[in-house]
Assembly symmetry: C2
Homo-oligomer: 225 residues x 2
């Protein structure tokens, strides 16, 4: 257990400040993530972030220079977090078909479980990806994702259960699209079509659809009997 709240102090004693740079920085980043992902770059307010932090506004500028830099760090931290989670997925010991099935289901659920991240990516796209463009960190983080899928795919082609000629990057695009949209457009879609998209039973349906759709697309046409 590390040093905690500086406000907790022996009663009556004049409260002494306790320096804890690491946790202050982390706290700011956590609050900023919530605020930016909720309200966007222009919608989020530095003053509000400051209020919700244990630290003060001064500290935000001390560690992050300005609003846009704070946003960039938020984005980077978010990518780092999700890619770390994804790295836990181990597909090498599975047969290609099962591996792909597992990968798709994981991607779908993983997106659904990280709406903050999805929203940050949406917001970054609204800004034409100009912050992401500044970050070599994010670029490098994501290179591996395609390789994982590429391995599964080529194993499947070798085994004869997957069609030839598909590009892993395009395949990843298809899987991402279906998983991303599930989170990004849940509000408009639910309201327009009067459909509780986020209800567990509907989420299950969609996950099955998406998985099934991808597998049907990649699998070889049914072999003649």
């Amino acid at each position: 257990m590390t040093a905690t709240s500086a406000t907790a102090s022996p009663k009556g004693t004049r409260r002494r400040r306790k320096n804890d740079p690491e946790s202050v920085r982390a706290d700011i980043l956590a609050v900023a993530t919530r605020e930016f992902s909720e309200k966007g770059l222009s919608g989020a307010r530095i003053d509000e972030i400051a209020e919700k932090t244990r630290a003060s506004k001064r500290m935000i500028y001390y560690y992050f220079s300005d609003k846009e830099t704070l946003y960039l760090h938020t984005l980077e931290a978010a990518y780092q977090k999700v890619r770390l989670q994804e790295a836990e997925l181990d597909l090498d010991h599975l047969a290609p078909l099962e591996a792909l099935c597992r990968l798709v289901r994981f991607t779908f659920c993983h997106h659904a479980k990280n709406p903050d991240f999805i929203r940050l990516v949406m917001i970054e796209n609204i800004h034409h990806g100009r912050f992401l463009a500044q970050s070599e960190l994010i670029q490098s983080l994501n290179a591996g994702v395609i390789d994982v899928l590429g391995n599964v795919y080529s194993r499947g082609v070798a085994t004869g259960c997957f069609r030839e000629g598909l590009d892993p990057r395009e395949l990843h695009w298809l899987i991402s699209a279906l998983s991303f949209f599930n989170v990004s457009n849940q509000h408009t879609f639910s309201r327009i079509f009067d459909w509780q998209q986020t209800a567990p039973e509907n989420q299950q349906k969609l996950e099955d659809h998406v998985t099934d759709m991808v597998l049907r697309y990649v699998r070889v046409d049914r072999e003649a009997p």
Copy 2:
């Protein structure tokens, strides 16, 4: 030809104001659409919209009360415009398979051609669809979309070329997801995977993938020879 710019006047003559409420309103809405879709609700500035308009800031408030109401009207107008374009699609005279193919390709291209609309929908989702929820207009506009797809689908089931048991609404969800993502995430995807997604040849590839994927999903499994 209707009344035009009030700035054009016989030389030397003291410029007289010409009232043209319809076009002023339309002009404001057009500029607001660009600004909101580019920068979001909180990012767009009323003053900037006013500057880019032939009218003045006063007029914005005169016709649209406040910023949020202007945004709502922008959103409604955008939905109206795209649904009108979609209504031109006539599928009844086509065989189910061709009709579905045509519908998917149309949806994909239509999204690609209307990035402003897509961005507004993204922005609306960032706001949890709370403005869309206020608009009965938008709700009613979209009801028909499912019916069109539903008709094609049931015709296909009747003909025996489509599988049974699929829900038109869920089918629409899948088609939307693939078409929407193509526009909404083009920036991050292009940058992260170093892939010119918007290049014509890649757009063609994606359109083919998406169409093929949907058709494979809906078609009956290959009939035994």
